[in-house]
């Protein structure tokens, strides 16, 4: 025979808040909600009720009845924690647990296990009492009947952190003396039943069912079912969050990449197997390496196309660790995968998506290992007039992916198209190649204009010059910058962008440059050089 237990925390929101506050036991407390600019009592404890406070009173009325009333507001975080504690209590007794409502958890008891209150007390109730939550438990043959039993416990006082168990063996005997209101019918239906003189569930069941339901409507049908003890329904089970992580503390510290990869592969195979069994894929991986000495090393791998393929995931780890060195040997390692449901999507007809995202991620990792992370990616312009104001953004970052999806394919790139009429206009002016860092230049001026240039990249007399273009920014703080730019053409035909900074002249870039071939001596400097 199936049995269900309902764990109900009376005044759940109030208890959830109270258990986190260091209060004296027995203090009158009420939880208020804001309703149309008025604070209304939503829940109150036994001490407050004894002082005449009840739910629905305005706060001022409640305070008038109980001057020492402690008024509290609801806290969603505390409520979530309390609900989790209630769930854990249920899971301790059975794997079939439903989070029915805030403060209410329904548990299907294992049929092969005989009901013993002592067992339940030990595994489910004691943990709740230890975290300061009082609970009422109803045990019956159906979830609905168990809920009624939990809401209507046997008489007696319920301390702030106590419990009460109501076991229903005979549903009819339990329900018959209870008021109809305990089944929580609608107010209209309750009023009609009251007019008929029906006060208890026993009186309700004595009525001819079909005729009464025809007159009272579908809500009466539901009420009759409850009055007969409810029915067994499948629970909406809550599965505990599975953790796809592995940890290993090494007896002997690892010093070589091969040994580390061997261990990591073993951990990865376990995690990937669990992911595959749960029909999940890894969206991210977190690797933590613990050393004999010093702080641990952490790295998060973003997987461009979530997968549970061991080989692909292992290749990412391998590529990253190829360029990794540490001062001390590795004493422990942790690997965790963030699970995601597999993405089922249909490709866009006109979108050119990445052919092999895993390969691209590996290529980017190799490039970053070769050059450094700030040297690979997409340039993102900064809000500044400085021509070199940009920063690098990861190529596979969220922003890039969004752009990938958003940017439509251009007609100019389809076979046979003649042009792209929707393209942004090409900026005005000749582009140039930059020198990074810009080499210092010695510039001779004549009448305020460059007349001769000498730097490590270019030398010669200035044939013609255009400028100056004055740029300035961040004048309001310490990062103030200003630059004076000139375009110059040397007598050998080379053209450069010259920049005068606070610190002196530099060669900003080259439009057209002249290379010093071997055997050519550097040109002589003019005596009237200013820097």
């Amino acid at each position: 025979m199936k049995r269900f237990a309902v764990l109900l925390v009376p005044e759940f929101r109030l208890q959830a808040v109270l258990r986190h506050s260091p209060l004296r036991p027995g203090v009158a407390a009420a939880l208020v909600d804001r309703q149309e600019r008025k604070a209304v009592v939503a829940e109150c404890n036994a001490a407050a009720r004894a002082a005449g406070v009840s739910a629905g009173l305005v706060q001022t009325q409640a305070m008038a009845r109980c001057p020492n009333l402690l008024v509290l507001s609801g806290n969603p975080v505390h409520e979530r924690l309390a609900q989790e504690a209630l769930m854990h209590a249920g899971e301790a007794f059975s794997p079939f647990v439903e989070s029915t409502a805030p403060g209410v958890v329904t548990v299907e008891l294992p049929p092969e296990r005989e009901w013993r209150e002592a067992d339940f007390m030990e595994s489910a109730v004691r943990p709740l009492l230890s975290v300061g939550l009082g609970v009422c438990i109803g045990v019956a043959a159906t979830p609905d009947l168990a809920a009624v039993a939990a809401r209507n416990p046997r008489p007696g006082s319920l301390p702030p952190a106590g419990y009460r168990v109501t076991l229903i063996e005979d549903a009819d005997a339990f329900l018959a003396p209870l008021p109809v209101a305990k089944l929580q019918p609608g107010l209209e239906l309750l009023a009609v039943l009251d007019l008929w003189g029906i006060r208890t569930i026993g009186q309700l069941r004595a009525l001819p069912r079909e005729e009464a339901c025809q007159r009272l409507g579908p809500e009466a049908v539901r009420l009759w079912k409850l009055a007969e003890g409810g029915e067994v329904r499948p629970l909406k089970l809550v599965r505990p969050r599975e953790l796809f992580a592995e940890k290993e503390e090494l007896e002997y510290a690892v010093e070589t990449l091969e040994a580390l990869l061997f261990l990591l592969r073993r951990l990865l195979e376990k995690i990937a197997g669990r992911l595959a069994a749960a029909w999940m894929v890894a969206g991210r991986m977190r690797l933590v390496l613990h050393f004999d000495q010093g702080p641990c090393y952490r790295h998060v791998f973003t997987i461009p196309e979530p997968t549970c393929d061991t080989e692909l995931l292992f290749r990412m780890l391998h590529t990253h660790l190829e360029g990794f060195t540490s001062d001390s040997p590795i004493a422990g390692l942790e690997l965790e995968a963030q699970p995601l449901p597999p993405l089922d999507k249909q490709g866009d007809l006109l979108d050119r998506s990445v052919r092999n995202p895993q390969q691209l991620a590996e290529t980017l990792a190799r490039l970053e290992a070769l050059l450094g992370p700030d040297r690979v990616g997409i340039p993102e312009f900064l809000p500044s007039a400085n021509p070199d104001a940009f920063r690098m953004r990861p190529f596979l970052g969220a922003g890039a992916e969004r752009q990938e999806r958003a940017a439509p394919i251009k007609a100019a790139h389809l076979p046979g198209a003649a042009g792209d009429s929707h393209a942004a206009p090409i900026p005005t002016g000749m582009p140039y190649l930059c020198f990074r860092p810009p080499p210092a230049a010695h510039v001779a001026l004549e009448k305020g204009r460059p007349a001769h240039l000498h730097s490590s990249e270019a030398q010669g007399a200035v044939r013609s010059a255009r400028g100056p273009w004055l740029l300035e920014g961040n004048w309001w703080d310490a990062t103030h910058w200003s630059r004076e730019e000139w375009d110059v053409e040397l007598d050998n035909g080379a053209m450069y962008r010259l920049v005068r900074l606070k610190t002196g002249w530099v060669l900003g870039g080259a439009y057209s440059f002249h290379r010093e071939r071997s055997g050519l001596p550097p040109q002589s400097m003019s005596p009237s050089i200013s820097t």
Binding site: I378, P387, R466
Partner: protein
């Protein structure tokens, strides 16, 4: 054969080129459409290295190559993904609108050695239909020290991945380039602030060499700007 690109649309050039190739049996490689009429008129091969450099007779006027580079990035990257392997971190991103660089992987190398290694990684990736290798500002000594075998290996990788690689060099460098395009153009200083399209019209490109089945062939066709 000299043609004015101003009155000859790129579509007609493509058609004519297709006819010529059919007759001459030159079509071994597919071509990509870059969106730059000057380059599409010649045809950039997929799965091969194309070198864009300066004709020796034009001296040191690199300006037309730089202009072509930015025009290529402006038109191509708006529609598809491309990688720019920057040989000495000299690319100026703000010379293009932000939207143009959203699909551009910019790899900022410090020297030619790093650039060749990075180009190797990108060429074998297969996710970038176009790879641009910019070596224009690298010192001559660095460029001459690149072993020929490296270029051959790049060629093999490109044939596998099917990507097109454009190498911008200051002098003829890539011995096994499938196509070598020379750029030229005269731009006095007072022209530098003109519209980019007007400047581009002044760029002259010509096929310096094209490798056929039996080795190097002389230029078969030329396309020049006004």
């Amino acid at each position: 054969m000299t043609m004015q690109s101003s009155w000859l649309s790129s579509g007609k050039v493509l058609e004519l080129r297709g006819m010529l190739e059919e007759v001459c049996h030159l079509s071994e490689y597919k071509r990509i459409c870059t969106g730059v009429p000057e380059l599409d008129g010649i045809g950039i091969f997929q799965g091969a290295v194309t070198e864009i450099t300066l004709p020796e007779t034009q001296g040191e006027r690199t300006i037309s190559s730089i202009l072509l580079l930015y025009a290529l990035l402006h038109t191509y990257v708006r529609g598809d993904r491309a990688a720019l392997v920057d040989g000495c971190d000299c690319f100026q991103p703000r010379a293009l609108p932000q939207g143009d660089v959203e699909r551009l992987l910019w790899v900022r190398c410090r020297n030619a050695g790093e650039a060749m290694q990075a180009a190797d990684y990108v060429a074998r990736d297969g996710n970038f239909p176009l790879v641009v290798l910019l070596l224009m500002l690298n010192p001559d000594g660095e460029l001459r020290r690149i072993p020929v075998a490296v270029w051959h290996r790049l060629q093999l990788l490109l044939e596998k991945s099917g990507a097109a690689m454009l190498v911008f060099t200051p002098f003829a460098l890539v011995s096994n380039a499938r196509l070598r395009i020379g750029t030229a153009g005269s731009f006095p200083l007072d022209m530098l602030q003109r519209r980019r399209l007007d400047l581009l019209a002044g760029v002259r490109v010509n096929v310096m060499r094209r490798r056929g089945k039996g080795g190097w062939d002389e230029a078969l066709c030329r396309s020049s700007g006004a």
